[in-house]
Symmetry: C2
Subunit: 375 residues, 2 copies
């Protein structure tokens, strides 16, 4: 994969860059809206085009279960299925499988689990997950990794990290043997593990570099550790990853997390937070979060965020959106989703501009200060 | 209200026309999508603009309860509240109140009822309903009428019709005394009642003509009577209404009902059927209805209706939409709603063209024949 770093902030590790995929060019730092099951919840592809994310995320666990590989293949892959011709990155599903409450059995071969839908038994291996991602046809595939629970002790973290590295090697090998069913290439990213243990993260990063990937992710964070620990682990791990490859911090996070992680050298993010929060009425604004269900907004004729120019803020008032939530109209969920995704995408646009102009740190500090006003 | 009949089908009572409101011109026959609580369910106003209905419906009962008159007034009326600057017609809420399962008390003054939300007591009178509609700011207001249950006997129908006529007179009088809060006019339509009894419908129609309204509706149909009875009552009642005023058949109906009623002289329709059906996966197509939840469509790459050019049919397959329903993604509801509304609007467009070209009867028969193919 071609990845070019275009600017690096003189005062730190923040950087801008871009990478190319068959479905288009992606400028970094980038936020990828989450389209778990073939749709970014509440939106259709014309809404997405208007919001203009350059890449979105799909989830291998969910798509493998429904509609399933056979249907995905018959429908020409996920891009065609969901009518989205820009880049897609697929999560490996490891995080979902290791989050299942039902028992799962981990062996060197892979992980056995029961579907959360019907309890049917399934096996994910590093190899068959790559096969599913190939059927999905994503532009970037993630390797299967073992995600230990947040509170695991160090031996457990070591074991999970070491197995994840062996799995990563098998995935990378298998990835090279498979055909491309839809006539376009697929890149492969490795994932570091090791919790907040620096020695484990270091071993993991070095092992992945040895295997060589198109990009490198930091997995297993934002699972309950203190924010400062997360930032420290992010900074430390990022510093061990190749400078000429994108660095992806998985499943993170709040607007503040994104800005702080960009400062620590992260290029890519995904998180369900803006979309999930939108559906429960939590709105991200330049002054912090607000909950639109609050009666305060009943007769408020102002937009969700006076500094926002998204479709929602251009056309609808807080009072109207509060009413839609109050009477359970689905339209409300769509309007808040549009706004929150727009907020995250514009935030990343802001990081890119500030980095290009060499003033990332001061820009970030001002942003964070304003975002603290409401909260 | 200015209403001009532009063409009448030489072989029957079908006719085209148009009327003007402050918010725009409406060509008839017209179907009005139902936006009960300030939103056509699952859609936002940009979706509606794309679908291009010339008028939509709001419901006085629901809007009176939530967000309530005070908020509606503070927000500048429904047009501004929901960001819709085309015509709106408001139902009086009579149908909803008389459909409540909770006891309600009818007197000459009005109808007492309990809110379906919190059980709080309320009184609707012919006068205060008009006041609420004025606060909503609809372009066309409907009078409060008493809607007897479908299975009522004739004395009950007579009593309800006679009271509805006295209420209509009070409404018309009160309508003339009220100011226009948003600087635009509001027209008032009367509603005939009388079940399927021709003598009652005749008395009702004559009484309404005596009072004089901007348009005349047929209420109390499609509540359980046989289809043929409905068509006969529609035809009979329409023939008694002024030819130079629009005729509105309330709450009807299936695509077939619309075409048959246009043939009987009806100009306006509203119905929750296309939107409600959309949300349970029932799709209207030129070949009849289909249910997209059916496993038959799992790997079907064709659009919902091959003869449709709506956004949904242009961009998404049956297989994708079936998947969205299968995994409970809200996006699926929006896609089917767009299609079903488009289907109804294009059907009405078809009636207008056929009437203008003097071939309504043969056009309708061909349409109905094709629509029978799937069902």
């Amino acid at each position: 994969m071609e990845f070019n770093v275009t600017h690096t902030d003189p005062g730190g590790n923040a950087r801008t860059g871009y990478f190319m995929t068959y479905h288009g060019r992606v400028e970094t730092p980038v936020f990828m809206p989450v389209g778990t099951r073939g749709a970014v919840k509440t939106l259709r592809s014309s809404d997405l085009l208007q919001l203009d994310p350059k890449i979105i995320l799909g989830n291998t666990y969910h798509l493998y279960l429904r509609p399933g590989n056979e249907t995905l293949r018959a429908m020409g892959g996920l891009h065609h299925f969901m009518n989205w011709d820009r880049p897609i990155l697929t999560d490996s599903g490891g995080f979902q499988v290791f989050s299942l409450k039902e028992l799962r059995k981990i062996s060197e071969e892979g992980v056995e689990f029961k579907s959360h839908i019907d309890g049917s038994p399934h096996l994910f291996t590093p190899e068959n997950v790559i096969e599913t991602e190939r059927v999905i046809g994503s532009d970037i595939a993630m390797v299967l990794d073992e995600c230990p629970p947040a509170q695991s002790d160090k031996p457990h973290h070591r074991q999970a990290m070491e197995r994840s590295m062996r799995w990563a090697k098998r995935a990378a090998h298998h990835h090279r043997t498979l055909p491309f069913p839809y006539g376009h290439q697929q890149f492969l990213f490795g994932i570091t593990q090791g919790g907040t243990y620096k020695d484990l993260r270091k071993e993991s990063a070095l092992k992945l570099r040895e295997i060589s990937f198109d990009g490198y992710a930091i997995g297993g964070l934002a699972v309950g550790e203190a924010t400062e620990e997360m930032y420290e682990t992010t900074e430390f791990t990022a510093s061990l990853l190749p400078t000429d490859r994108p660095r992806y911090l998985m499943g993170v996070g709040t607007p503040q997390d994104l800005l702080e992680s960009v400062a620590r050298g992260i290029d890519m993010f995904d998180c369900a937070m803006p979309t999930r929060n939108a559906r429960n009425g939590t709105i991200f604004t330049s002054y912090g979060k607000l909950n639109i269900r609050n009666a305060t907004y009943k007769e408020d004729n102002s937009p969700l965020d006076p500094n926002c120019s998204c479709e929602t803020c251009t056309n609808y008032s807080r009072g109207y959106i509060r009413h839609l939530f109050n009477v359970d109209e689905i339209t409300g969920l769509t309007l808040t989703t549009i706004h929150n995704i727009d907020f995250y995408l514009r935030l990343m646009e802001g990081t890119r501009e500030a980095i290009q102009e060499g003033r990332y740190r001061s820009w970030m500090e001002r942003k964070l200060e304003r975002m603290g006003e409401l909260n």
